[in-house]
């Protein structure tokens, strides 16, 4: 089957994945997502922004294949129908490293599971470690690293397979602000350099505006998409962008949209 024939109406050539009217109901009758449609285009840095309970993590897990939609479907244009291996990586909120394995072995894991020995994969693993600035820590154990360094290892592990889609579930939420800013900058630098596609879940307006060129705002009960904003500030973005008027304008816009989305709800906190 050719690439073109598997493409469906309404999808542009650059769509990596799209959710079409996806709903998710959990067995305890919670409606986590209701009728969500979203197309992720090639090369985009999309943030899913919303209050807790809006289903942003659920949407990410459905894209990752860790959860299945109750209704609607997930379409991967440019892939064979029924293809299982979607060439994606996932970064969790926690670094999620194997404590018994060295940094090298942790980054090697995705390749090892595909049958590549450490000898064959060595160069690629070291390359991924260099990207996140940890080439000197290959033989360290996770417990010897700081929280920020562990998260860098986690990112290196996600990058080692050169995924076409990188999914990140609030990866920096547990880090202190200084570390978070540094990792934001490094992530942006890598994204610009390699041009992959990122879906980034966050509950921080400021982080989403700083990083992404598109923000999808979601509301809770039931989880749904309420706004889709473009952030047209040019890259590369650095510390001067963080203090610019353009940045604060975009933050206000995103914040207003978020407020509007939450306006109809009873406060739960």
């Amino acid at each position: 089957m050719t690439l073109a024939s598997s493409r469906r109406a309404g999808e542009t050539a650059g769509t990596v994945v799209s959710l079409q009217n996806v709903s998710k109901t959990f067995s305890n009758a919670t409606v986590a997502l209701k009728d969500m449609s979203l197309s992720i285009r090639q090369g985009e840095f999309v943030s899913l922004l919303g209050p807790s309970g809006c289903g942003k993590s659920t949407a990410l897990r459905i894209v990752a294949g860790l959860s299945s939609p109750s209704a609607g479907r997930l379409v991967w244009p440019g892939e064979r129908p029924g293809q299982k291996d979607h060439d994606i990586s996932f970064v969790f909120q926690e670094p999620t490293l194997m404590p018994w394995a060295t940094v090298f072995a942790n980054v090697h894991l995705p390749l090892k599971l595909k049958g590549e020995s450490a000898r064959v994969a060595r160069d690629r693993v070291m390359e991924a470690l260099e990207m996140v600035g940890l080439e000197g820590f290959a033989e360290s154990y996770p417990r010897e690293l700081s929280g920020g360094m562990k998260m860098r290892v986690s990112i290196a592990r996600a990058l080692v397979t050169k995924p076409k889609l990188l999914l990140m579930d609030e990866p920096f939420a547990a880090l202190d602000e200084i570390t978070r800013f540094r990792l934001n900058n490094d992530l942006l630098r890598l994204w610009e350099e390699f041009g992959w596609t990122v879906v980034f879940v966050t509950h921080s307006v400021f982080e989403s505006v700083y990083l992404s060129n598109r923000i999808v705002i979601m509301a809770a009960r039931p989880g749904r998409v309420v706004a889709d904003l473009d952030v047209d500030a040019p890259y590369p973005r650095g510390e001067e962008f963080r203090t610019s008027h353009l940045y604060s304008d975009h933050c206000r816009r995103a914040s207003d949209a978020l407020q509007a989305a939450m306006a109809g709800e009873a406060p739960d906190a």
Partner: protein, 290 residues
């Protein structure tokens, strides 16, 4: 330069002096290090000295309570009988520990593969564990013709449960995000077991192994008491029985000392093994300040 005391050394290194609380902490840590060895040794020496004094002062007959001197003499004098018996007991103990490890880990892995298997068989493992081995042993010696095999089975029954129970817990404690990660990268069941669940279970398994080491010795001794037959290839338990029939109390004590020492050596070896396997990564093996 005068005396090389702690404050001098700190001053030389141009560090700010320690405050009273930190200095106290340092001193207590040093005292603790010595006390950990010195205190049990002092208690041991005092107990033996008190025992010797009591036996001498009250002229207790040696067929009721021999003094430590007589126990040591019996240990040396009866060494030709005790040593082969110790070897037999050790053989049973280590043999039982090995099959308990294989059986316990094997069953735990089987249980981990299928919840249904675990639900079906785990209760029977519990039943086997809570029924005292001393009441099952006579039956085992009726059904099993070989004494050695009977002893191994008894010791195994006592020793395998902590390994099974701990390893099962460990296999089920693998981090959920890591499991998701393995799923995402399309890991097979075998890969998940080998690269994720077994390493996660290792600290739990080693904890179970430490308990099982002591229990397999107890199992081996108890089973031999029940078996109660002498002749060639009898272990320390039979030597104790035999000595008690002859009112050879010093030899009984000597055999007990040997059994205790064996247990201590087994425990220490397994502790060292556990430390070596976990020291690089597990929280239990990590020393930290604060």
């Amino acid at each position: 330069m005068t005396a090389d005391t702690e404050p001098d050394r700190l001053a030389a290194a141009a560090l700010p002096p320690l405050d009273a609380a930190e200095a106290g902490k340092l001193r207590r840590a040093r005292i603790d290090r010595i006390a950990r060895w010195a205190l049990p040794a002092v208690v041991m020496i005092a107990t033996i000295a008190g025992w010797q004094w009591y036996v001498d002062a009250y002229q207790v007959p040696h067929y009721i309570l021999p003094g430590p001197d007589r126990v040591v003499a019996a240990l040396l004098q009866d060494w030709p009988t005790l040593w082969p018996a110790l070897l037999v007991t050790l053989q049973i103990t280590l043999g039982a520990l090995v099959i308990a490890t294989i059986g316990g880990v094997g069953l735990a892995v089987l249980f981990a593969q299928s919840k249904w298997v675990e639900m079906s068989f785990f209760p029977y493992a519990v039943i086997l564990q809570v029924t005292p081995v001393i009441v099952i042993a006579p039956l085992i010696f009726i059904y099993v013709p070989s004494k050695i095999v009977g002893l191994l089975i008894c010791a195994w029954i006592v020793a395998f449960f902590p390994i099974l129970s701990n390893t099962t817990l460990g296999l089920n404690s693998a981090d959920h995000n890591l499991r998701n990660l393995f799923q995402l990268y399309g890991a097979s069941r075998w890969q998940t077991l080998w690269h994720l669940r077994l390493p996660s279970a290792l600290p739990y398994f080693l904890g179970g192994l430490k308990i099982a080491g002591g229990l397999s010795l107890i199992g081996a001794i108890v089973a031999e008491f029940v078996a109660g037959t002498g002749g060639l290839g009898s272990g320390l338990a039979f030597k104790i029985l035999e000595a008690s029939y002859r009112l050879n109390i010093p030899r009984m004590f000597a055999a007990i000392v040997l059994i205790s020492l064996t247990g201590i050596v087994i425990f220490a070896s397994l502790s060292i093994l556990s430390h070596l396997m976990l020291r690089r990564w597990h929280e239990s093996a990590i020393k930290r300040d604060g």
